[in-house]
Amino acid sequence: MSRRSRAAEPDPYSFGSRPYDLVKEFTIALVAVLALSIALAAVFSSPDKRPVTIATWAKADSADFTATALAELDGTSGTAQYGPPYNNASEGQKLGPVGLANLMGVTRPIDTAQDFVIRPLRSAAQTAIVSSAVARYTAASGAQQNTWTGNYSNALDKANGDPTKIAPGDYGPVPTMLTALLAQARAGSLDGQLLTESGVFYQTDYTLPLLFLADGSYLANLAGQDHLAGTQWGMMNETGNYPGQAWLWLYTFWYQISPYNNSTNGDALVWGTMAVLSLVFVFLPFIPGLRSIPRYIPVYRLIWREHYRDLRARGGT
C-alpha cells in the first residue's frame, strides 16, 4: 500500500479568530422562541374543532351510518375491499410491477362483518330479538347472507338511504341487527367497543373506529368542508384559518396532477416519487450539474460578503 504525500496544511492558529459563546446564543434563542410561542398562543390559541366520533356520526347522519354498516356486513366497504394490510380482497398498492402492499402482507387483519358489526353486537347486552337475529345471521350460509344484505342494500337505495322508509321484503335479520348497531352507536358505546376489541385495557389503537368512519361519507364531507381532502391540498391545511403543514407542499402537490390523481396506485406512486427526490437530495454533492448550483447562484457570497470584500481588497477573487 502506498501513501501519497499530503500537501502541507496551514497552521490553524495563523488565522484570525473571534470569541463565540455557544451557550449564550443557545439561551437567547431558547428564550426568544419560548416568548414568541407564548405570545402567539395567547393571541391566536389553537384549532378547536370538536372530535368526530362514531356517536356524533350516527346522530348526525344515521342513514350514512346504516349504509356503511351494511357495507361492512356484506364486505363491499372500502376497508373490506382494500387488500393488505387488512385483508386479501385485492392486491393493494403497486409501484410498477412491485406489489408494495403485498410484500408486507396482511399485518392488521380485519374482518369487517365480524369486527364492525357482529362482535360489537355480541359484546353488548341485547334484547332476545337482537340476540336471535345475530345468531340467525351467523348460522346462515354465505349465499343466504348475501341475499339478505343485497335485498336490503337495494331497498335502502330505493328509500334514499332512509331505513324507516324501506318497503317490506326478504331482509332476514339484517334490519334488526343494523337498527341495534345504530342504537349502540348513537348511545356512544360502539366507540368504546371498537377500541376494546383487541382486549387491551389501555388502548391507543384507533384503527377500527377510524376505518369505520372513513368508510362512510360523513367524515369525508366534513373534511371537504375544511379543505382537508387529498384533492384539496389537504395534507398541508389546518381547520379554520390556522396555518397548517406548509412543508408538505411537495408531497401533496403530486396528488393534484395526473397520473397520481387518477391512478389506483396513487399513494405508491407519490411515495416512489418522493423517495427518488429524497435520494437526489441526499446524493446532491455527487450529481454533476446539480452540485454546481451554488457556483451559478452564489448565495454563500452574499452571506460571507464581508470576507469576499476583504479578499477582493487584498487582490484575491
Binding site: 391566536f44 379543505h227 391540498w233 381547520t239 379554520g240 396555518p243 393534484q256
Partner: protein
C-alpha cells in the same frame, strides 16, 4: 368552566371561522399558509442581508 373564565382565556384573535383559500389553476393554498410562507421568506432574506453582530473582542 364559567363564562367569565372562558372569556378571560379566549384567544384575542379567533381563527376558528371558515378558512380563506386562494385558487390559481391546480394550486390551492390557505391564506394562513401563504402568510407563514411569506414570513419565512422575509426571515430568510433578513438573515442573508442583516450584518453579523460584531463582538467587542474580535480580532
Amino acid at each position: 368552566m364559567s363564562a367569565v373564565t372562558q372569556g378571560a382565556l379566549a384567544a384575542a384573535v379567533d381563527l376558528n371561522g371558515p378558512g380563506h383559500y386562494l385558487n390559481w389553476g391546480v394550486i390551492q393554498i390557505s391564506a394562513a399558509n401563504l402568510v407563514i410562507i411569506g414570513v419565512m421568506i422575509v426571515v430568510f432574506v433578513l438573515a442573508l442581508l442583516l450584518p453579523f453582530p460584531k463582538g467587542r473582542g474580535r480580532r
